[in-house]
């Protein structure tokens, strides 16, 4: 899975929870949760969405690394390698 595919899957998983998200307006290097209104239930659903799309089980202790869209993509690339 290349980076573009991962990025597309990540955005789709976020949009499944926050349908109002406009991907073009998302600043990929900026903190995600400043730009998208995700409460802790939403965030858990996003993580479950990653699990379903990429078959990775992200431990809670790694949540702190998943700050921005770029960071999430980098994290998943490393895990999927």
């Amino acid at each position: 899975m290349d980076e573009a595919q991962i990025r597309g899957g990540v955005i789709a998983a976020i949009q499944a929870v926050a349908p109002e998200l406009e991907p073009d307006e998302l600043q990929a290097s900026q903190p995600l949760r400043d730009q998208v209104d995700l409460d802790s239930m939403d965030w858990l659903n996003v993580i479950v969405g990653f699990h379903e799309r990429f078959a990775v089980d992200i431990p809670e202790t790694d949540y702190a690394q998943l700050t921005s869209l770029d960071a999430i993509v980098a994290y998943l690339r490393a895990r999927l390698r």
Partner: protein, 398 residues
């Protein structure tokens, strides 16, 4: 014969419209079955019927009906069928089997009282799908029955005079109506309920450590959120504080033996809704977590059930994700208490004479002075705080 009536889906609801029947006349219904979809200011709600028997005399779609209006009749198993004009029975040319006065009290109530045209079940289903009032159509079938073809032609007509635009998007909330409903309920609360407010800081290290260790062993799909612990703790603590759990209506407080926690859930389009998690004290955390996730999903996507809106005996609001330290809420009538939680954050805390950084949660109570006093409220918050120091005690069914 029992009447199935328009339920009050919260204190602020006065009228609703049946926009879909999930049953057909003559169907067997069991307590808890979803039989209809009713449009309210809270969106389209799946309405359950708690009667047991055969349902008949369904109210027409799209008609605004008051809370308490008869929506259908339910005959107990084995009960003889009472002859009355109904969807399945009305035969315009034949004399009624009995005079209208004998048709029972329901005949005087708006729903179920109007003799309706014969409509084939297939036509009624299709009409419901298309948002057409089948009873208002001119039938071309035998005895003037409305057929599938009649519905289809009505549906295709460019501006069908008989069609009623009753379909609403599932989960679609009209923000204006929602705001009016919130304003009405909260205005009534502030006018009628003498609120008092208490706050208590709750150390959360033990609870969070316990949760983190448990979640490390759980697959991602079964992880618990911290929010589920205070909800369970509220339910367990309330068992010894009946004056905080129940409803006050017409000046009479009725405590509830079960704790149905209304969980305030904000909607992405604005507004909020506080449907119930049922029997919280008796459920293990894993089940509560699944039910909470399901409730949030259905609040946003549609599919809330009537009992979830009419049953809460207390409300919990958690604004922790929004970052506030504490929330002092407004009681949702006819309830008499609301418990609020803010954000869990590290704060200085004196533990054994030493100042330590401790993850803290501020629990608040607002309660109704007509039923309880600050003394009891304070004891309740202390019990809640102590329960959260023993997270393993929150785990199981009890």
């Amino acid at each position: 014969m029992a009447e199935f009536t328009m339920p009050a889906l919260g204190a602020d609801m006065e009228v609703g419209k049946v926009v879909e029947w999930r049953v057909r006349p003559g169907d067997r219904v069991r307590p808890g079955d979803v039989v209809a979809v009713v449009e309210t200011h809270k969106g389209a709600i799946d309405v359950e019927c708690f009667l047991d028997g055969v349902i008949d005399d369904l109210a027409p779609l799209g008609k605004e009906l008051s809370v308490g209006a008869v929506l259908a009749q339910v005959r107990a198993a084995g009960e003889p069928r009472v002859a009355r004009p109904s969807v399945a029975q009305a035969v315009p040319v034949a004399a009624p089997a009995e005079p209208p006065a004998a048709a029972g009290p329901a005949a005087t109530v708006v729903a179920g009282a109007v003799p309706r045209a014969k409509v084939s079940p297939a036509a009624r289903r299709r009409a419901a799908e298309r948002g057409i009032d089948a009873d208002a159509l001119c039938g071309t079938g035998a005895d003037g029955a409305v057929t599938l073809a009649d519905v289809e032609s009505a549906a295709c007509a460019p501006q069908p005079a008989t069609a009623t635009p009753v379909r609403v998007a599932r989960g679609g909330f009209d923000p204006t109506l929602m705001r009016q409903a919130i304003a009405a309920a909260m205005g009534r609360s502030k006018r009628e309920i003498p609120h008092y407010y208490l706050a208590e800081p709750v150390p959360m290290r033990r609870a969070l450590d316990w949760l983190r260790d448990g979640n490390a062993r759980r697959p991602v799909t079964e992880r618990l959120l911290p929010a589920v612990l205070p909800i369970k703790a509220v339910a367990l603590a309330l068992r010894d504080f009946p004056e905080l759990n129940g409803v006050l209506e017409s000046g009479v407080f009725r405590p509830s033996s079960a704790v149905h926690v209304g969980v305030a859930i904000s909607l992405r389009a604005g507004g909020l809704i506080a449907p119930a998690l049922h029997d919280v004290a008796g459920k293990p955390l894993e089940l509560l977590m699944r039910e909470l996730a399901d409730l949030v999903r259905r609040c946003r996507a549609g599919g809330l059930r009537s009992s979830e809106l009419s049953d809460p005996t207390v409300t919990v609001t958690n604004l922790g994700d929004q970052g506030v330290e504490a929330v002092f809420g407004v009681i949702y009538p006819p309830q008499v208490a609301l418990v609020g939680f803010g954000r869990i954050a590290a704060r200085p805390w004196v533990d054994g004479g030493i100042v330590v950084a401790m993850p803290m949660l501020t629990a608040t109570l607002c309660a109704d002075h007509r039923v309880s006093d600050g003394h009891r409220g304070a004891l309740f918050l202390a019990r809640l705080r102590d329960l959260l120091q023993r997270p393993e005690a929150l785990q199981g069914a009890s």
